[in-house]
């Protein structure tokens, strides 16, 4: 037995498979000793993983890709043998913005194109009135939240860099910032949307699954060099995470899983709030309205655990669209190489994917083609990218 593995995580519900793997003994059953380390920022998780203070980490999928590409930081190639979560984010707006959107909306309140068009009208009215632009909080420059907010509003012609302000906020500060009026809306993972609703200061406008049916969110990340040197440990860790994900997806285990996650040294919020996320049944308005979705957060089901390089290519395309990365053939290759279905298959002894990867199901634009990113991006009017 070697030294225990140190694995970093951010207290969010999509760390569920990792936390349950350790606390329910799935890692121990694989012969692994693991110390989970709770962190306060994605920058810390990334840096500690990069310099070897962590062996593995719960990481935003785009941060893993940015690290492999050397964007905004040092270049450290990352490998993701397991996808910890698919979807799971939501857009929450202040009561005032909610009322303004509902006044302008023409169509279904849950249709993202209808809400985006309503947002465009609110934005233009505010501009005419000389009001400050609306401010949206998101978690990190290289985050699904950033790209999901942008994808949504840009579909109705709202330029996220010109028409509104997008600011980075640490998830634990989101709710306070909405309350103080520092932001008008935010896109974040669980449990923060529910907490804002429970406090009566926010309405959940969209589950991210309204915008993209199947979007890779967090990955289990290791350094590529470490993965090469420790293939058995990577396989054991992947199996443990996969078993934990399976455990969580059984409805009869949800209460226990939520209790494990609620521990103060893990996520540290009410088990009931966590269970809402796992069950996909969320209170969306302070008046007590609930909304149920089978796609809110996928932990392992529908093949969510198997990393899909096409998802990595889509995230890279968003970096290109918003001017964070140049479009190069090498860039696409590097991004795709972060998501490692081969490691997943090897760990679980599978030679074929159990299910075909789910399509994105984006509400706007053409179907995504990872082999023609420039063609795909040309279909979108708003963007920082120039061919």
């Amino acid at each position: 037995m070697t030294a225990p593995l140190r694995i970093g995580f951010i207290p969010l519900v999509d760390a569920a498979a990792l936390i349950v793997a350790v606390d329910k003994g799935f890692t121990a059953a694989e012969g692994l000793e693991v110390e989970l380390v709770r962190e306060v920022s994605w920058s810390n998780v990334r840096d500690k993983l990069n310099i070897g203070l962590f062996d593995a980490a719960h990481l935003l999928a785009p941060v893993a890709i940015a690290s492999s590409l050397g964007l905004g930081h040092v270049k450290v190639p990352i490998a993701a043998p397991f996808n910890l979560g698919v979807n799971g984010n939501a857009i929450t707006v202040s009561p005032a913005l909610y009322a303004a959107l509902m006044e302008e909306i023409d169509g279904d309140r849950f249709d993202p194109l209808a809400t985006a068009k309503a947002l465009a009208k609110v934005v233009s009215k505010r501009r005419k009135a000389g009001a400050d632009p609306l401010t949206f909080g998101m978690t990190f420059p290289f985050s699904t939240h950033n790209y999901q907010l942008r994808f949504w509003m840009a579909a109705a012609g709202v330029d996220p860099d010109e028409d509104v302000r997008l600011v980075v906020l640490p998830p634990p500060y989101m709710v306070d910032s909405l309350k103080s009026g520092h932001v008008d809306a935010f896109c974040v993972g669980a449990p923060w949307n529910s907490i804002a609703v429970d406090l009566g200061i926010g309405h959940i406008l969209h589950f991210v699954s309204d915008i993209l049916v199947h979007a890779a969110e967090k990955v289990l990340a290791v350094r590529q060099t470490w993965a090469d040197k420790n293939p058995d440990v990577v396989a054991a860790l992947t199996r443990a995470a996969s078993k934990a994900a399976e455990f969580i997806e059984h409805a009869e285990n949800r209460t226990e899983a939520a209790r494990i996650l609620a521990q103060p040294e893990r996520i540290g919020v009410d088990a009931e709030v966590i269970q809402r996320t796992l069950d996909g049944r969320l209170k969306i308005s302070p008046d007590g309205t609930f909304r149920e979705s089978g796609r809110y957060l996928l932990v392992g089901r529908e093949g969510a655990g198997r990393p899909d390089p096409v998802q990595a290519a889509w995230l890279y395309a968003q970096m290109v669209r918003w001017g964070q990365a140049p479009l190069t053939p090498d860039g696409v290759k590097t991004a795709k190489a972060v998501f490692r279905p081969d490691l997943y298959d090897a760990a679980l002894g599978r030679h074929q994917p159990a299910e075909a990867p789910a399509p994105f199901g984006a509400f706007a634009g053409p179907a995504f083609d990872p082999d023609d990113i420039s063609g795909h991006l040309e279909a979108f009017e708003v963007g920082r990218w120039k061919a």
Partner: protein, 196 residues
């Protein structure tokens, strides 16, 4: 070092004591332009207003992620770069992360000028951590003393002992049971409350 040459340093830290310790060290080392920011709400606006050459931030501060956004803002005139950009100096990176401090450096500042600042931060952060540990220890010792006094009073009353006898009884019990005297005192208090 003249004021023109001294780089502008921003310290982002919610702990006023640690920030003061750091600032004092930097001033002693001849750095004259230092701004401390403890308010996180308008962090970026403040940093842009100061326009620093170096930003020092506590790793336990979630606002590190906010700073990362600066690398993305293309409209900003001066773009800071991360300290970790230079991979050649991995030992000082490791030392700073372990000490709990991170530095962001605006592009163009020479490496020789950064190293002493970082080294100083690391040693000051470590000194602060030690100080805090001592403070915690003193606090718990003080707490222990209060508990021991209270337990002593109970023993004196219930067993009609004088002060010294009560203390000796607790100490010998602690030694026999291989426990701290504070723990024994706490169990006496708990037991006496249960028997009320």
């Amino acid at each position: 070092m003249s004021a023109e040459q001294s780089p502008k340093i921003v310290i982002v830290d919610e702990s006023p004591i640690r920030a003061a310790i750091l600032e004092e060290g930097l001033r002693e080392a001849g750095f004259t332009q230092i701004v401390h920011i403890s308010e996180m709400q308008s962090l970026l606006a403040r940093i842009y207003a100061v326009d620093p050459d170096i930003i020092l931030i506590d790793l336990e501060n979630p606002s590190r992620d906010v700073l990362e956004a600066m690398f993305q803002v293309s409209r900003a005139v001066r773009r800071p770069i991360a300290m970790f950009v230079d991979q050649s100096d991995s030992s000082s990176i490791q030392a700073s992360v372990e000490a709990g401090v991170s530095a962001y450096i605006v592009d163009g500042l020479k490496k020789e000028r950064i190293k002493p600042i970082l080294d100083l931060c690391v040693s000051r952060f470590n000194a602060f951590a030690k100080l805090q540990e001592e403070l915690e220890r003193t606090k718990s010792q003080l707490e222990d003393r209060k508990v021991i006094e209270k337990a002593k009073g109970i023993l004196m009353r219930v067993k009609s002992l004088n002060e010294d006898e009560a203390y000796v009884l607790m100490r010998s019990t602690a030694m026999r049971e291989k426990k701290k005297i504070g723990e024994i005192a706490q169990s006496i208090i708990t037991a006496s409350e249960m028997l009320k």
